[in-house]
């Protein structure tokens, strides 16, 4: 019974934290975009704020902007266009956000394993870990496809079509890119993969090609630039979410950023050592080390998120045929070669 309550608590904390983080990520994104374009970005919300009891605060960097954005989202009129397929239209953003959230169930955001003070993972000890993440990730495409179909709008429809093809295509190299790491660690459990990296080397050293493939495919899976063809504003005027407004649109937004977080976490765990840092090792089980490890992970993830944003505002968008060529003619063969080579080398070394 207590275990269930504990799990529910954990779920609440993690989901809540993520939602909050996402809100602030939007702010970060806007700031990064502004710096990339030599602007200032949002800097008003939170300044000259008067709280009750006359307390005046002056928050920098527009720190309250997310709250304003959120309020706007929630309070706007929720328009359901006339000719949409209503059940699917409503279902689509739900799927988007649920799929993004569910995947986090097995992602360790700190040290896991026997002997730790606490399992920093909602569902610890799932030995199919990474496969579960992919299973849930593969459901995310429904949100986009259904949104495109249900909107009953040519642009949205094209966005949905593009999205389905793109996500299916990039799932293949995505799945294959991590197999090298899985082979090395000998487990699908994310915690064990981190432990292996602690005892040996980081995945980015052991599997540089795998890292690259994962990064590229992960970008495509999150539908972010340079792979945001399903929504590309210039061609499809927003693509699959053209017809969405208010909180439904906000849910897509939320889902996208949660995807970014998940992909960042996975990259960090699989290729950047997770909580691993000079001075930290698997054997340390104390509270202090646990906190340190969580912080280290969070720091790496923050860097990854920044990297993703950076790339978004740096690189131009692919053309659709280039996108497909990249997946099927470059990434898939490369991933196969990488996998075979890794397996061969492992076999050679282990005898």
């Amino acid at each position: 019974m207590w275990a269930i309550i504990g799990i529910v608590l954990k779920i609440g904390v993690v989901v809540g934290l993520m939602q909050g983080t996402v809100a602030y990520l939007i702010l970060v994104e806007r700031k990064v975009a502004a710096y990339a374009q030599d602007r200032i970005g949002p800097n008003r919300a939170g300044r000259h704020l008067t709280l009750p009891f006359g307390i005046k605060i002056n928050l920098p960097f527009g720190l309250l902007q997310p709250i304003a954005d959120g309020a706007k989202m929630v309070l706007k009129e929720d328009v359901v266009p006339t000719y949409v397929d209503k059940p699917l239209y409503i279902l689509a953003p739900m799927i988007a956000i649920i799929a993004a959230t569910l995947g986090f169930a097995v992602v360790p955001f700190g040290p896991v394993g026997p002997g730790q003070v606490m399992q920093f993972q909602i569902a610890p000890g799932v030995d199919i870990g990474i496969v579960y993440v992919f299973a849930i990730g593969s459901l995310a495409v429904y949100g986009v496809v259904l949104a495109g179909y249900a909107s009953n709008n040519k642009y949205s429809f094209l966005g949905g079509l593009r999205s389905s093809a793109q996500l299916i295509s990039y799932e293949v190299p995505l799945g294959m890119s991590i197999l090298g790491m899985v082979l090395l660690a000998g487990s699908l459990d994310l915690g064990k993969i981190m432990a292996w990296q602690d005892q040996h080397v980081w995945g980015i050293v052991a599997q540089p090609i795998g890292f690259l493939l994962f990064l590229v495919s992960g970008f495509a899976e999150t539908n972010r630039l340079p792979f945001d063809l399903p929504e590309s504003e210039q061609e499809l005027v927003g693509g699959f979410h053209t017809e969405y407004s208010a909180m439904k649109f906000g849910m897509f937004f939320l889902g996208e950023y949660m995807h970014v977080i998940t992909v960042s976490y996975l990259t960090v765990i699989l290729f950047l050592g997770g909580w691993d840092f000079p001075g930290l090792s698997v054997e340390q089980t104390g509270l202090l080390s646990a906190i340190l490890k969580v912080l280290v992970t969070a720091g790496k993830v923050s860097f990854m998120i920044f990297l993703i944003m950076w790339i978004r505002w740096t690189l131009p968008r692919f053309r659709y045929d280039q996108l497909m060529d990249l997946a099927w003619k470059s990434l898939v063969p490369l991933a196969l070669v990488n996998l075979v080579a890794t397996a061969g080398i492992i076999q050679l070394i282990r005898g």
Partner: protein, 295 residues
Amino acid sequence: MNEITTSEFVRSLLAVLLGGGGVYLMLPKGVSGISPRRGFGAGSAAFALALLISATFWSPPGAGLSRAFFVLFGLTSIASGTLMITARDPVHSALWFAAVVLSTAGLFLIAGAQFLAAGTVIVYAGAIIVTFLFVIMLAQMEGKASYDRSARAPGRSVLSCFLLMWALAYALISMRSDARATVEGGSARLLADERILIPTPSITRVGNSPPQSGLSEVLRRASRPTAQLPERSNPAGPHVAGLGATLFADHLIAVELAGGLLFIALVGAIAIATPKPPIRPVVRVASPPANAPRL
């Protein structure tokens, strides 16, 4: 009718009759006099009742939460399946099938097949159904077609399939009764083989030799007859590792065959689907510009 109690017989018959009637009402068809919406509503109500009756035959494994989840997933899978075959819009059909797949994956989890659950979701929900959706969208941009609104001989189809379902269910239920009856001293008639009473049939036990690696070991296991597979293979090890070990050793040939099949299917699909002129009998658009992107 000795092996099955009257209550069970009546319940199963009721469930199949109600279910069949319900599905008949739910199927798209142009019967005058009944509004499709009302028919669908009545049908789904009847079917839900049938579903509940049929759930009385289930005895879920595990305890507590696990049992609840089993019932939930079981009901969802069958209900989604029914909705899939009665949906007017093929996109809805595909989505209901996705629901079937997800429920089935849940049932897999309860049966202890975690990897398979995830794999089913990835392959079916993630790839196959999305591809279906893609094709439906490509092919049916006009919306709902008339052929989606009329089932072929719904009465006849429902009759055959629910007769089949009832026969299968009857066999299963009566077999269970057999097991019980024989334990109590009755006689088994349907399958006069006492092996069904043994919880685990005797598969030739292969000595628990220490696990060896190496090609020769793999080949030895791959060429072993299936009847000689170990009864409980590596119950202690982690799930995926055990599955992988048996997959790539005991069932190596099946895996290789499946791989070959996949490859051939890939080649075949590409060969079939590559557009060859004339692509469509009705020319809809002017010829694309010379520098138009491929695909």
